[in-house]
C-alpha cells in the first residue's frame, strides 16, 4: 500500500478470451481450491477481551501499556490524525470490505517475551512448532528468530557470535527502550507519518516488528528470520520494522506470515523502513501466506546510499487482498535496487503487487522482475513505478513482468508507470501473458505425471527464476505452497 503509485490507473487490459486455453471447460474441478494448512486457531482469552475500533483513547492506551516516551505518543497521535484525514485509495484492489470499527487494534497474548520456546504459553508454542519455526532454528538455518503473535513479539533469539559483533536484532518495542538515539534518528525517516493512509494507521497503532542494526563491515551470513502470526478473528496486526545496515555490511532478513481461516476479515498493515548505507547490501525476503480473509496492505521502502544494494524478494501466495509495492530510493551514486516479485492469486484473491524504483543519484541501476499466476477466478496485477529524477544521469532500469493464467476465469493486469526527468537514461520494459498450454500438459502427462502434478511443474517452472534466488529451504517451501494451491485445481 505504499508509495503513491496512485496515479490514475491505466485502462485495465484483461487478456482476451482467445489467448486463454479452454482448460476450464475440460476441467470443471478447477473451481476447487488447494487446502490451506495453517488455518487452525488457538484459544485466547486476551483476544476475547480486546476492544474493537479506533480512537485517540485506544492509541493513548497502546502507548501507555508500552511506557513510551512522549515523542512517540505524539507521533502516534499525528498518525491517527492523518489516517482520519486521508481518503481510502481509489485505485488498486477493492478495500470496501474493511470495517475499521470492528478491528481489534491491540492484542497482548502473553505478559513477557520468551527467549526459549519452553517459556511460551503452550498454545502459542504448539503453533510455532506446527509452523516449523523452532526446528529451523535448531537446524541452524537461521541465525536469529523473532516470532510475533498478535500484536507483540513473543519469542526472540539471536546467535551469540552476532551479538558479540554488535549486531542488534530486537523486537521494535524493546529497541525503542534500549536504543532510543538510533531509533529516534531513523524511525519514520524513510516512510513519514503522512505517507499514505495505511502507513499513517500503522504509525498510530504500531506494535511489534523487528529492529535490526548491522555494524560497519559485519556480514550476517545466515539469514535472520521473523515470523508473523495472527490468531484472533478481526485482528489488526501493525508491526513496524526498521533495518539499518551500516557501511559495507550485509544482512538477509526473511519474514513469513500465516493466520487462521475465519469467516470475517483481519487486517495486516505493516511498515518496513530500511537504510542501506554506503556499500552495504540488504536482502529482504517475504513469503506471505496469510489465510484468505486477511487484507494485507503493507508499505515497504528502502533508501540505498552510495554503492549500496537493496534487494526485495517478495512472494505473495496468501491473503484476500494484497497491495504491496516495495520501493527503493537510490540516493547515492552507483546504488542498486532490485525487486523479484511472485504473486499467486487463487479463488477469491486479489494480488495487486509490484515495486517502485526512484533514481535520484547518477549512475544508479534498478531492475524489477515480476511473475504472477492466477487461477480459479483470482486476480493478479503488476503495478510498478520507475522514476528517474533530474540529475540522475546515466541511470538504468529494466522491468520484466510475466503473467501465467491457468484457466479462463482468472485475470491478469499490468500497470507499468514510468516517469523520466533526465535524458541520459537506459530503460527496458517487457511484459508477457501466457497460458498453461494444452500441449505442455499433454507432454508432461504423456510422461506419466497426473494432471495436477503436471500443472504444478509448469507453474514451478514459470516462477523458477525467482525461486532460485531463495535459500534452498524457502524455495522448497514456496514450491510446496504452490503444489498445495494447485492441488484440487485440476481433475
Amino acid at each position: 500500500m505504499t508509495d503513491q503509485v496512485d496515479q490514475k490507473p491505466l485502462t485495465p487490459t484483461p487478456v482476451p478470451e482467445s489467448v486463454i486455453s479452454d482448460i476450464l471447460e475440460k476441467n470443471p474441478e478447477l473451481e476447487g481450491i488447494g487446502t490451506y494448512q495453517y488455518g487452525w486457531a488457538d484459544k485466547n482469552e486476551a483476544s476475547a477481551n480486546a476492544r474493537r475500533g479506533l480512537s485517540e483513547e485506544v492509541v493513548r492506551d497502546i502507548s501507555a501499556k508500552k511506557n513510551e516516551p512522549e515523542w512517540m505518543l505524539d507521533l502516534r497521535l499525528k498518525g491517527l490524525k492523518y489516517f482520519d484525514r486521508k481518503p481510502m485509495p481509489s485505485w488498486g484492489a477493492d478495500l470496501s470490505g474493511i470495517d475499521f470499527d470492528n478491528i481489534k487494534y491491540f492484542v497482548r497474548s502473553t505478559e513477557k517475551q520468551a527467549n526459549t520456546w519452553e517459556d511460551l504459553p503452550e498454545d502459542i508454542r504448539n503453533t510455532y512448532e506446527k509452523l516449523g519455526i523452532p526446528e529451523a532454528e535448531r537446524a541452524r538455518l537461521v541465525s536469529g528468530v523473532a516470532a510475533q503473535y498478535e500484536s507483540e513479539v513473543v519469542y526472540h533469539q539471536l546467535r551469540e557470535d552476532l551479538e558479540r559483533q554488535g549486531v542488534i536484532f530486537l523486537d521494535t518495542d524493546t529497541a525503542l527502550r534500549e536504543h532510543p538515539e538510533i531509533f529516534k534518528e531513523y524511525f519514520g525517516s524513510i516512510i513519514p507519518v503522512g505517507d499514505n493512509k495505511f502507513a499513517s494507521l500503522n504509525t498510530a497503532v504500531w506494535s511489534g516488528g523487528s529492529f535490526v542494526y548491522v555494524p560497519k563491515g559485519v556480514h550476517v551470513e545466515i539469514p535472520l528470520q521473523a515470523y508473523f502470526r495472527i490468531n484472533t478473528e478481526n485482528m489488526g496486526q501493525f508491526e513496524r520494522t526498521l533495518i539499518i545496515a551500516d557501511e559495507g555490511s550485509y544482512v538477509h532478513y526473511i519474514e513469513g506470515c500465516t493466520a487462521p481461516i475465519y469467516t470475517s476479515d483481519s487486517l495486516h498493515s505493516a511498515v518496513v523502513e530500511i537504510v542501506v548505507k554506503k556499500n552495504a547490501r540488504v536482502r529482504y525476503t517475504t513469503i506471505q501466506n496469510w489465510s484468505n480473509n486477511v487484507y494485507n496492505l503493507v508499505t515497504k521502502r528502502a533508501v540505498a546510499h552510495e554503492g549500496a544494494t537493496m534487494e526485495w524478494i517478495d512472494g505473495n501466495i496468501g491473503s484476500k487482498v494484497t497491495m504491496k509495492y516495495p520501493a527503493v530510493y537510490l540516493v547515492g551514486e552507483h546504488a542498486k535496487g532490485e525487486t523479484l516479485s511472485i504473486a499467486f492469486a487463487g479463488e477469491g484473491q486479489h494480488q495487486d503487487t509490484g515495486s517502485k524504483m526512484v533514481h535520484i543519484a547518477p549512475n544508479t541501476k534498478s531492475s524489477i522482475i515480476s511473475k504472477s499466476v492466477a487461477r480459479g477466478g483470482g486476480r493478479a496485477a503488476y503495478r510498478g513505478l520507475v522514476q528517474v529524477r533530474e540529475g540522475a544521469k546515466n541511470s538504468a532500469n529494466t522491468v520484466r513482468c510475466d503473467a501465467l493464467l491457468v484457466d479462463t476465469i482468472s485475470r491478469s493486469d499490468t500497470y507499468p508507470y514510468v516517469d523520466i526527468r533526465e535524458d541520459d537514461v537506459t530503460m527496458g520494459h517487457e511484459a508477457t501473458v501466457s497460458k498453461v498450454s494444452e500441449e505442455q500438459l499433454f507432454y508432461l502427462m504423456s510422461r506419466g505425471m497426473p494432471e495436477d502434478e503436471a500443472m504444478a511443474m509448469i507453474v514451478r517452472g514459470f516462477i523458477e527464476p525467482i525461486a532460485r534466488e531463495l535459500p534452498m529451504e524457502y524455495a522448497l517451501e514456496l514450491n510446496r505452497l504452490i503444489e498445495l494451491q494447485m492441488e484440487g485445481a485440476v481433475g
Binding site: K26, S437, E438, E439, Q440, F442, Y443, L444, M445, S446, R447, G448, M449, P450, E451, E453, A454, M457, I458, R460, G461, F462, I463, E464, P465
Partner: protein
Amino acid sequence: MSTLEIKDLYVSIVTEQGSKQILKGVSLTIRTGETHAIMGPNGSGKSTLASTIAGHPRYTVDSGSITLDGEDVLAMSVDERARAGLFLAMQYPVEVPGVTMTNFLRTAKTALDGKAPSLRHWTKDVKQAMSQLRIDADFAQRNVNEGFSGGEKKRVEILQLELFRPRFAILDETDSGLDVDALKVVSEGVNREHAKGEMGTLLITHYTRILRYIKPDFVHVFVDGRIAEEGGPELADRLEEEGYDRFAAATPAVEA
C-alpha cells in the same frame, strides 16, 4: 509378452470448418519384440493414429477400440496410458521453461514407476544414455526442450525412450529434420532398447530413409485414413522406388 491391439478405429478432429474424420477404420496389432512401420503421404492420418493412442485431447474417437493386453486404453487418461507402458516420441516436443531436464526425467520416471529411482543407478543410467545419444552433459541442467535444435529435441525423445523403458514405443516421424549422422545416432538408440526384447515399436515415417537403420518386421501403408497395403520389409523397398504415386488417386489432401 504384451499386445497392443487397435480395432476398426475411427477418429475425428474439430476444425474451424467443423468436425472432420481423419481415421476411417484402422486395425493393427503389435506384439512385444515386433517393429511395425507405418508409412504414407502427408495427411494420410499417420500422426493422428500416434496422438490418438497417446490420448491427445484434440482427437475424438468415434468408434473402434484400442486395448493393451485386453485393457481398454481409450478409458485411460493420458498419464494412465503412459503408466500402462505406452510412450510417444513426439514430432514436435514442447518447451517447458524453468524445468530442468534432470528434474523432468526424474519426476517422470518416478511417476511411471510409482517410486523414485535409486539415485546412484539413475544418475549413471542418465549419463550413459546421454553419452550414447551424443547429448552434451550440460543438457541435464538445461530447461526441457528450451532452445534445443530440431535434432536435439529428437535425441532427447529417444533418451526418454531408453530411460523410461516402455512396453510400446510410438515414434512419430522421429526421422524428420535429422541429418544422416543424427538419424544414425537416434536409430541406434531405438535399436538398443528394442534389442532388450521387451518393447514393441510403431515407427511412423514419411520416408524410407530411417528403415535402413531400423528394420521393420511389418510395413503398413496409410492412405486417406485407412491401411491401403500391408506387407513385410520388401514393401518399404518398393515404396522407395515407386513413391506413393500409385496411391495418389485415392489420396485427397487431408490436413492432419
